[in-house]
């Protein structure tokens, strides 16, 4: 099934975090992050079945773009099954993902990570608990010992830092 000139196991081990990341992101809007493994599995199977004739410019970009495509297929088929309206605009990159778009996404992720690593402990707590885990602001405020309004302020500061890093590349 697989082209012997490509070592799929090695490539997958190296890039599986990014493949899952993009699949989670697409499926999140439909509350179906539990289907991320399906999207990633279908992406790998499709690539192994029809490998690129030439090595791509970036394996990571190809794997990420394929994972995203499969996740979008899942979102679309779920929308059809449920008869609900499917809005592409707010499913990230809802239209035909390609490798250039995937590379841009990966670059932005790479720029965001050091900015996140530079956050102080309180900022990181707000990022993890409020922005990522989506816990109630009031609960986090009580844990940190500040007001909910202060959590809003810290949250905006964190997002401004990440936005500056993603836009400025620093």
């Amino acid at each position: 099934m697989a082209d012997p000139s490509y070592d799929w196991a090695a490539l997958y081990q190296k890039h599986r975090d990014a493949m899952y990341g993009v699949a989670y992101e697409v499926l999140r809007g439909r509350g179906r992050t539990d289907l991320a493994a399906d999207a990633v599995q279908e992406a790998m199977l499709s690539l192994m079945k029809a490998p690129p004739a030439e090595p791509p410019r970036s394996w990571e970009a190809l794997l990420v773009a394929t994972s995203k495509r499969r996740a979008l297929d899942i979102v679309r088929s779920a929308a059809v099954v449920r008869g609900v309206e499917y809005s592409e605009e707010y499913v990230r990159g809802g239209a035909a993902p390609d490798e250039d778009e995937a590379m841009e996404w990966l670059e932005k992720m790479a720029q965001a990570r050091p900015a996140i690593a530079r956050l102080d402990a309180q900022e990181h707590y707000v990022l993890a608990q409020y922005i990522v885990l989506d816990r109630p602001r009031g609960d986090i405020a009580a844990e940190v010992g500040v007001t909910p309004a202060r959590i809003s302020q810290i949250s905006t500061r964190v997002l401004s830092k990440i936005n500056a890093a993603v836009k400025g590349g620093g």
């Binding site: 070592d7 799929w8 196991a9 090695a10 490539l11 997958y12 081990q13 190296k14 599986r16 975090d17 493949m19 899952y20 990341g21 993009v22 989670y24 992101e25 999140r28 809007g29 509350g31 493994a37 990633v40 599995q41 790998m44 394996w59 605009e89 707010y90 990230r92 932005k108 992720m109 965001a112 990570r113 050091p114 996140i116 690593a117 102080d120 402990a121 990181h124 990022l127 993890a128 409020y130 922005i131 990522v132 989506d134 109630p136 602001r137 909910p148 309004a149 202060r150 959590i151 809003s152 302020q153 949250s155 905006t156 964190v158 997002l159 401004s160 990440i162 936005n163 993603v166 836009k167």
Partner: protein, 223 residues
């Protein structure tokens, strides 16, 4: 310093996400306001950057591709050394060939394997070594010695306490949880190989102390 209207506006959108992306939750408010849209996009990037693949043992693709370590089989270091010499490859050339395939393997790893240390249990990697040294993969595999230390480490790595530490380490290092877990596991392996066979709770405490100290240093810098 008092929170301004923008802070509360962004927070209200984040509060209303209910599992969706921030950009989707704030679609009405951000359509005409690029500064709000940028911050919501940043929230979505932050969310995505904190996601990672499941552990190898829980990943069906990893199982399909032979990436899940097999505790019963390990690389035969002497057989690898012999096979490598038979095809006239130096250690560094073999490492380069593996790296070209996508494996993160260095000459140092291969030297260690050939000396019988840190032998890999990953079937797909053993297959790759066999292909590069032109031997049947079965010749490079042997029954694992049933290393009790390795089995003990596997239990620790699977614990919730270890996963929590890996998440903290990932934050400090700005890396994925999987890579952070791997780095912490390597540190525990070093501790085990130094001898003394420390207990599981002692190993976890030493890793926690490391994470605490680096977090503490970071907090001091930030204050």
């Amino acid at each position: 310093m008092h929170p301004d209207g923008k802070d509360e506006e962004i927070a209200a959108i984040l509060d209303a996400r209910a599992g969706q992306s921030a950009l989707a939750a704030g679609a009405d408010q951000s359509s005409e306001r690029p500064e709000v849209r940028d911050l919501l996009k940043a929230a979505d990037f932050a969310w995505a950057s904190q996601q990672s693949a499941p552990p190898l043992a829980d990943d069906p693709v990893a199982a399909m591709l032979g990436l899940v370590p097999d505790s019963e089989l390990e690389l035969d270091g002497k057989a690898l050394s012999s096979a490598r010499k038979n095809v006239g490859l130096t250690v560094s050339v073999l490492a380069q060939r593996l790296a070209a395939r996508g494996w993160e393997v260095t000459s140092r790893d291969i030297f260690a394997w050939e000396s019988g240390k840190n032998l890999t249990h990953v079937p797909a990697l053993i297959n790759a070594l066999a292909e590069e040294t032109a031997v049947d993969a079965d010749r490079l595999r042997r029954q694992s010695g049933g290393d009790p230390e390795r089995a003990r480490l596997a239990v620790i790595v699977g614990s919730e306490a270890f996963k929590g530490l890996a998440q903290r380490w990932a934050r400090i290092q700005g890396t994925t949880v999987a890579l952070a877990a791997s780095a912490l596991e390597s540190r525990m392996l070093v501790a085990v190989h130094r001898g003394g066979a420390p207990e599981a709770d002692v190993l976890l405490e030493s890793i926690e102390a490391l994470v605490d100290s680096v977090e503490g240093a970071e907090g001091a810098e930030g204050s």
